[in-house]
């Protein structure tokens, strides 16, 4: 072809575009908004997706979490009067699961009650979590000070507590922290350690200072608080007997997670006829999130395709007008000896320049809009390199595809007719 002159052709293309500045700009707008909105939408989608994935990952993709859930018939029975409702996971369940499934690494029982924690005059309602040392192995959160719960605390039913960082900040007096005594319920617990808060990556996770936790040995919790929890609601006292609120199960191999989850569901189904539990599999949620993302991408892809199509039609329209307007020029070039192929190249370069300029401005816009969204709406956005490469490629392709017809029309004009054209 005419590679020595490619640069000049591009220069000529640019020149023609500059010459018709407003028209070129309006033509490009289609591309600009197409590309810009695609990148922006992808960025928002990717941001939301990464946040969702991060939240699921925090739950641990090797884990299965079983929650106690109040059955609906228990809910009805309890209405309006004092009644003891008994439901949920049992201590026994945790052991059975650990013994039954070979691929289960560890099981962690979790019992949660809300109690006020008090040191001197400072107090704060805590989420008191009765659990075992295995909990600290499972969540892998670093200790800020002191030590985690140990198995000897379990055996001795020791009055020790490990506070979360924010809870410690709230209720412990300045100065020495480890060894202070916190009054929870009727007993005093010695602060054995402080554990870091749940790491937050996404921007919409609730503020850290709300995570006011105190971890005590589950054996001590059973000793001091029993299994019956009294909830006071307006006009009634609600008593619930729940042995465990959660059992977290860590599976050795990620590939076995779903099989183990199915096994657990089947097994628990035999012991808990009234469905007072709920099995949560973060991995399944992860898969679901990924599937959602795929669907989202397809929808987005269709929108992108349509907007780029519209942009392409705009370009074709303007190029056809340009061919008509420049018929004479085409005639002159043909008379001088330009081949059809060279006329096609000339017009294609112009549309390619037009569409890729539009694409570039669109990319600038696509970078700017997510920034604005993050700034004002507080939504996380992630602009991927992939989306940039894709959109510049597509805008070039659109320019060439929609430039082909006008270019070939220009090339097939009769030179004599073209020269006479006014």
């Amino acid at each position: 072809m005419m590679y020595p002159h490619l640069f000049q052709e591009v220069k000529l293309g640019l020149k023609n575009l500059v010459l018709h500045g407003l028209r070129s700009l309006l033509t490009m707008l289609g591309m600009v908004f197409g590309v810009g909105s695609v990148i922006a939408m992808l960025a928002v989608g990717e941001g939301a997706n990464q946040e969702a994935l991060e939240q699921i990952r925090l739950l641990g993709s090797n884990n299965i979490i079983i929650h106690s859930a109040k059955p609906i018939n228990e809910e009805n029975k309890a209405k309006g009067r004092t009644f003891l409702s008994i439901y949920g996971l049992l201590y026994e369940d945790e052991h059975t699961i650990g013994d039954t499934f070979a691929s289960v690494d560890r099981t962690v029982p979790v019992k949660i009650i809300r109690k006020e924690g008090r040191v001197g005059k400072r107090s704060q309602e805590l989420r008191v979590v009765g659990t075992t040392p295995a909990w600290f192995e499972l969540v892998r959160r670093p200790m800020v000070a002191g030590r985690p719960l140990l198995s000897r605390d379990m055996i001795k039913k020791a009055n020790v507590v490990v506070l979360s960082e924010s809870a410690a900040k709230k209720i412990l007096a300045a100065g020495k922290t480890i060894g202070q005594k916190v009054r929870i319920g009727g007993s005093y617990y010695v602060v054995a350690g402080i554990v870091r808060n749940l790491a937050s990556t996404g921007k919409t996770i609730k503020p850290l200072d709300q995570e006011m936790d105190g971890y005590i040995p589950i054996t001590s919790m059973r000793e001091h608080f029993g299994d019956v929890v009294v909830k006071r609601t307006a006009g009634s006292r609600l008593r619930e007997k729940v042995e465990l609120h959660q059992v977290i199960i860590q599976v050795r191999d990620i590939n076995e997670v779903e099989a183990v989850a199915r096994g657990i569901s089947t097994m628990l189904g035999h012991f808990h006829k009234n469905a007072d539990y709920r099995v949560e599999v973060p991995l399944a949620l992860l898969r679901q999130a990924e599937a959602t993302k795929r669907t989202f991408n397809i929808v987005l892809g269709s929108i992108a395709a349509i907007s780029l199509l519209v942009g392409g039609i705009g370009i074709m329209n303007i190029m056809l007008a340009s061919v008509t307007e420049r018929t004479r020029e085409i005639g002159i070039r043909r008379a001088i000896g330009a081949k059809r192929r060279q006329i096609i190249t000339q017009f294609l370069i112009e549309t390619a320049v037009l569409s890729s300029c539009g694409g570039l401005i669109g990319i600038a816009m696509g970078l700017f809009i997510p920034w604005l969204i993050t700034l004002f709406a507080g939504l996380p956005t992630v602009v991927t390199t992939m989306s940039l490469v894709l959109s510049i490629g597509i805008s070039l392709a659109v320019g060439i595809i929609f430039g082909l017809y006008p270019a070939s029309r220009a090339a097939h004009l009769d030179p004599i007719q073209a020269l006479r054209h006014e």
Partner: protein
């Protein structure tokens, strides 16, 4: 005269040969016979004027000679090449290498400067972009427009525009210059300048074919071919 100009060949013999050339246009349901059997030969280095009333077929004749069109019947040989056998690419190639055009309405490309207009044929000849500027400058100098090199056609007078067109037509050092009423849009002073350029070009040995309907211009040519109803009425030498 410029030195490049004088490197023209001193070939002798026939450059163009027409044998019973006919051209029929289809206009609506009617066939219009623009050329009805033209036979003639044109020698290297000759200067021809084609004359005739409008509708006599002189424009069609020039388009055919310029390889912008092909005959419906008959033969056209350019330097022994049968033009009928050429496809669109072949015709383009022939125009690019052997022919130069100047038109009544100048036909410069308005977006391009004088320099870029003159460079246009070199561009399609794949000249190295570094060398085209020098050639264009020489040609602009030759037609007396060295100081207008970076102007656009709109900033030039008609006579200046036609001189740019003349320079462009010679950029590819063609065998034949085809001029379609080259002074039709010019006043008598500038017409004389253009005619002088043509005469000088002829002296340097180029073949020139000019369509005109003015006898005093045709007088500059060596031969005058008079057309009537698509045929050669007579040839004056």
């Amino acid at each position: 005269m410029n030195s490049r100009q004088q490197t023209t060949n001193s070939k002798t013999g026939t450059i163009i040969r027409l044998e019973s050339v006919e051209k029929v246009y289809h206009v609506g349901n009617e066939d219009v016979r623009a050329l009805a059997g033209v036979t003639t030969t044109i020698g290297y280095g000759s200067f021809w004027a084609i004359m005739g009333p409008s509708g006599s077929g002189k424009s069609t004749m020039l388009n055919l000679l310029g390889c912008l069109d092909q005959p419906t019947a008959g033969k056209y040989f350019f330097e022994d090449q049968d033009v009928n056998l050429l496809d669109d690419n072949g015709l383009s190639e022939l125009r690019l290498r052997k022919l130069g055009f100047i038109f009544q309405s100048f036909n410069l490309i308005p977006q391009l400067t004088v320099k870029e207009n003159i460079e246009l044929p070199l561009f399609y000849l794949n000249w190295d972009p570094k060398t085209t500027a020098g050639r264009a400058a020489d040609l602009a100098e030759m037609v007396g427009l060295g100081d207008r090199f970076h102007h656009r056609p709109m900033e030039l007078s008609g006579g200046q525009q036609q001189r740019v067109a003349f320079a462009r037509a010679l950029a590819n050092n063609p065998e034949v210059l085809l001029a379609d009423e080259p002074t039709g849009n010019l006043d008598s002073t500038t017409s004389a300048q253009i005619m002088q350029l043509l005469v000088d070009l002829h002296k340097s040995g180029k073949t020139i074919i000019m369509v005109t309907h003015e006898h005093h211009l045709a007088a500059f040519a060596e031969k005058r071919l008079l057309m009537r109803d698509g045929r050669i009425d007579h040839i004056e030498a």
